[in-house]
C-alpha cells in the first residue's frame, strides 16, 4: 500500500492573527451591511448591475432590452409617403431557413408621373412567429430595410392562430393588453 503523506503547512503569523481576530467573519458582515445600506438610499433603476438592487419589477416597469436583441418582426413604412417600403422582391422568404415568410404580390400598372409602369405590388405579407427562430437572415436580405426584427419580446398569444402575423400587424405592431399595477 502506498503511504500517503499530506504536507501540513505551517501558518504564518499574519494568518494566525487573522484567524484569532475572526477578520474573515467581519469582512463578510461589512459586505452585507454595505449592500443593505446602499439598498436603502440609492435611487433604483431596475436591472442595473452597478446598483445594490438588481431586481426589475417586470409588468410594472419595462425591462432593459439589449439593442441587438432580435424579437418581434416589423415592416417599416416610408416616413415621407407613409406607404410601405416593401417591393415584394421575395428575398426575405428565400433567405428564411424555416420558411416562415409568405409574400403575396400582383403585377399592376402604376402611374409614376407621366409614365405608366407595370410593377410588382405587395398585397399580403404573412410572418409565422411560431416557426421563426429570430436568426435575422430575412432582415439582412431585405434590400430596402423594410423588414426588421425589433426589441419587442412579448409574443405570447392565447391561440395558435395568433402566431400568424399579417401585414397590418407587422406594420402597426400588435395590441398588447397593458396591465396597470
Amino acid at each position: 500500500m502506498p503511504s500517503v503523506t499530506t504536507p501540513v503547512r505551517k501558518r504564518t503569523l499574519s494568518e494566525v492573527i487573522k484567524r484569532l481576530l475572526l477578520l474573515d467573519l467581519f469582512k463578510g458582515l461589512a459586505v452585507t451591511f454595505k449592500y443593505n445600506a446602499r439598498a436603502l438610499y440609492e435611487k433604483r433603476e431596475g436591472g442595473n448591475p452597478n446598483q445594490a438592487i438588481y431586481t426589475e419589477q417586470y409588468p410594472r416597469e419595462r425591462p432593459r432590452v439589449s439593442e441587438r436583441f432580435r424579437g418581434a418582426p416589423r415592416l417599416n413604412l416610408d416616413p415621407e409617403t407613409g406607404g410601405t417600403l416593401c417591393i415584394a422582391c421575395d428575398l426575405c422568404a428565400l433567405a428564411c431557413p424555416v420558411d416562415c415568410i409568405e409574400v403575396g404580390s400582383i403585377r399592376r400598372e402604376v402611374r409614376e408621373g407621366d409614365k405608366v409602369n407595370k410593377k410588382k405590388v405587395l398585397t399580403t405579407f404573412i410572418f409565422d412567429t411560431s416557426r421563426c427562430m429570430f436568426c435575422n437572415l430575412c432582415s439582412e436580405a431585405c434590400p430596402t430595410d423594410c423588414l426588421e426584427l425589433t426589441q419587442g419580446f412579448e409574443l405570447a398569444v392565447y391561440h395558435r392562430s395568433g402566431f400568424r402575423w399579417d401585414r397590418e400587424m407587422l406594420e402597426k405592431g400588435i395590441n398588447y393588453v397593458r396591465y396597470s399595477k
Binding site: S3, V8, G28, L29, Y35, N36, A39, L40, I53
Partner: protein, 451 residues
C-alpha cells in the same frame, strides 16, 4: 425595591373610580394587569408578524433583491396576507402521528415564549406587566420549556426528519443554555438583583451600561442566544438542505405559524434580555424628556411623568430593534455551522469563556472593593446600601473588561483549542493510515492484489 413594586402595582385613579373604592384589590391585581396583557400581546404579536416581513426585506436587500413588493405599498400588507393564508390552510395531521402530542406541541412552544413577556420591562414605572423580583430567573426557566415543544413535535410527527431535527435542537439548546446562564452572572454581580426593573435601575445608578463592564459576557450572551433561538448560523434543527424543515416538517397551516411565532417571540425575548442586562434597558432618553417637559405648553397634553415613561418605551424599543437587526444581519451573512463545529463552539469556547468571565470579574470586583471591606484599590463607595463605582472605578472596570478579561480569555482558549480541529479530522485519519501500515509490515493482513 419594595417601594418600586408597590408603586408599580398601584392602579391609576381613573381605574379605581371605574371599579369603585371597595374593589381596589381587583383594580390593582386584575383589571390593570389584564389591560396591560392585552396591549402587550396585541403589540408583540403584530411585531412578530412584521419581523417576518423585516427579515424578508433585510435578506432581500443583502442579496440585491427587493423582497415583498406586491401586497400593499412596498409589500407592507404581506404579513396580513400570510396570516390569512395560514389560517385558511388545511391542518394536516399525519396518519401515524401521535395525535394528542402532535396537536399539543406547538401550543407548548408558543405559550412558553409568550408567558415570558410578562416580566420584560418595556419602560419605566407602569410600562411593565409585573415586576417580579426574580424576573431574570423566571425568563430563563420558562423560556427553556420551549425546547419541550420542539422535542414533542419532532417525536410525535413519526418522521425521520422531524425526529432528527428535534434531537439536534434538544442537544443544542441544552448546550447553549449553560453558556447563556453563565454569561449573565458577570453582569448580575454588578446589578446585585434578579429583578428586571432592578437591573435597569442599577445601571442608572451606576451611570454605565453593563456592556462596557462586561464585554465578554455580552459576546457570550449574544452567541448563546443565537444558539438558543435556533437562528442561523446555528439553525441546525431546521437545516433545509439536510432535514427539509426539521422539527416542523409535518406541520402545516396555523400550527406551523405557531412555531414561527414562537421562534420570533423568542428572538424578541432574548434581545430584550440583552437590552435590559447589558444595554441599559429603557434608560437613555432622559435628556429628551427633560427638554420636552421644559416647554410648559406640553403639560396640558401629557404629564411629565407619563412623558418620561413613553420616551423610556421608545428607548427600549430602539435598542431592541438594534439587537434584532444584528441577529438578522448575522443570519444572512454567515453560513451554517456543521454539527460538530456547533458543539465545539458551545462546549470548548462558550462555556469555558462564561466560567472564566465569572472568575475574572469576581477578581476585578474584589480588588476594587472599598478599603474598609478589604479591597485593594478602594474604587467603590457605599451609596444607600449599594456599592457604586466611583469615577476612576468606572474607568477601572471598563479597562479590566476590555483590556483584561477579553484578551486573557480569548488567548487562553485559542491556545487550548488550537489543534482541536486538526485532531478531529486530519490526525485521526493519519492514525488509521499508520496503524494499517504497521499491520501490513508485520504480515498480519494479506497484501492487496494489485499493489
Amino acid at each position: 425595591m419594595m417601594e418600586i413594586a408597590t408603586t408599580l402595582l398601584a392602579a391609576p385613579k381613573w381605574i379605581i373610580d371605574l371599579v369603585g373604592k371597595d374593589n381596589v384589590f381587583w383594580a390593582d391585581y386584575v383589571v390593570v394587569p389584564v389591560i396591560k396583557i392585552v396591549i402587550v400581546l396585541f403589540v408583540v404579536l403584530t411585531v412578530v408578524a412584521y419581523l417576518v416581513y423585516v427579515e424578508r426585506k433585510v435578506s432581500a436587500f443583502i442579496q440585491a433583491r427587493l423582497g415583498p413588493m406586491r401586497v400593499g405599498p412596498w409589500g407592507l400588507l404581506q404579513p396580513l396576507a400570510d396570516g390569512l393564508k395560514l389560517i385558511l390552510k388545511e391542518d394536516i395531521v399525519p396518519l401515524k402521528a401521535d395525535k394528542a402530542v402532535f396537536l399539543l406541541a406547538p401550543i407548548i412552544s408558543v405559550a412558553a415564549a409568550l408567558v415570558v413577556l410578562a416580566v420584560v420591562p418595556w419602560g419605566a414605572a407602569w410600562a411593565t406587566i409585573s415586576s417580579v423580583n426574580i424576573g431574570l430567573l423566571f425568563i430563563l426557566a420558562v423560556s427553556s420549556v420551549g425546547v419541550l415543544g420542539l422535542v414533542l413535535a419532532g417525536w410525535s410527527s413519526n418522521s425521520k426528519y422531524s425526529l432528527l431535527g428535534a434531537l439536534r435542537s434538544s442537544a443544542q439548546m441544552v448546550s447553549y443554555e449553560v453558556a447563556l446562564g453563565l454569561s449573565i452572572i458577570g453582569a448580575l454581580m454588578f446589578a446585585r438583583t434578579l429583578s428586571m426593573t432592578g437591573i435597569v435601575e442599577a445601571q442608572q445608578a451606576d451611570g454605565m451600561w453593563y456592556v462596557l463592564f462586561q464585554p465578554t459576557g455580552f459576546l457570550v450572551y449574544l452567541i448563546s442566544a443565537l444558539g438558543e433561538t435556533n437562528r442561523a448560523p446555528f439553525d441546525l434543527p431546521e437545516a433545509e438542505s439536510e432535514l427539509v424543515a426539521g422539527y416542523h416538517t409535518e406541520y402545516s397551516g396555523f400550527r406551523w405559524a405557531l412555531f414561527m411565532m414562537a421562534e420570533y417571540a423568542a428572538i424578541i425575548i432574548t434581545s430584550s434580555v440583552a437590552v435590559t442586562l447589558f444595554l441599559g434597558g429603557w434608560t437613555g432618553l432622559g435628556w429628551l424628556s427633560n427638554l420636552i417637559s421644559g416647554w410648559s405648553w406640553t403639560h396640558s397634553i401629557i404629564s411629565p411623568e407619563n412623558l418620561q415613561v413613553i420616551l423610556s418605551i421608545f428607548a427600549f424599543v430602539a435598542k431592541l430593534f438594534a439587537v434584532i437587526y444584528v441577529y438578522m444581519w448575522i443570519r444572512w451573512t454567515w453560513p451554517r455551522y456543521r454539527y460538530d463545529q456547533l458543539m465545539e463552539l458551545g462546549w470548548k469556547w462558550m462555556i469555558p469563556a462564561g466560567l472564566a468571565n465569572i472568575v475574572l470579574t469576581g477578581i476585578w470586583y474584589v480588588l476594587a472593593l472599598p478599603k474598609t471591606s478589604g479591597g485593594l484599590f478602594g474604587l467603590m463607595q457605599n451609596q444607600g446600601g449599594r456599592l457604586v463605582a466611583s469615577g476612576w472605578g468606572k474607568i477601572y472596570f471598563i479597562a479590566t473588561g476590555f483590556a483584561g478579561t477579553v484578551p486573557i480569555i480569548w488567548g487562553i482558549l485559542a491556545l487550548i483549542n488550537r489543534r482541536s480541529r486538526d485532531f478531529n479530522l486530519h490526525e485521526q485519519r493519519q492514525l488509521q493510515v499508520r496503524l494499517r501500515r504497521e499491520r501490513l509490515q508485520k504480515g498480519a493482513e494479506p497484501q492487496p492484489a494489485g499493489d
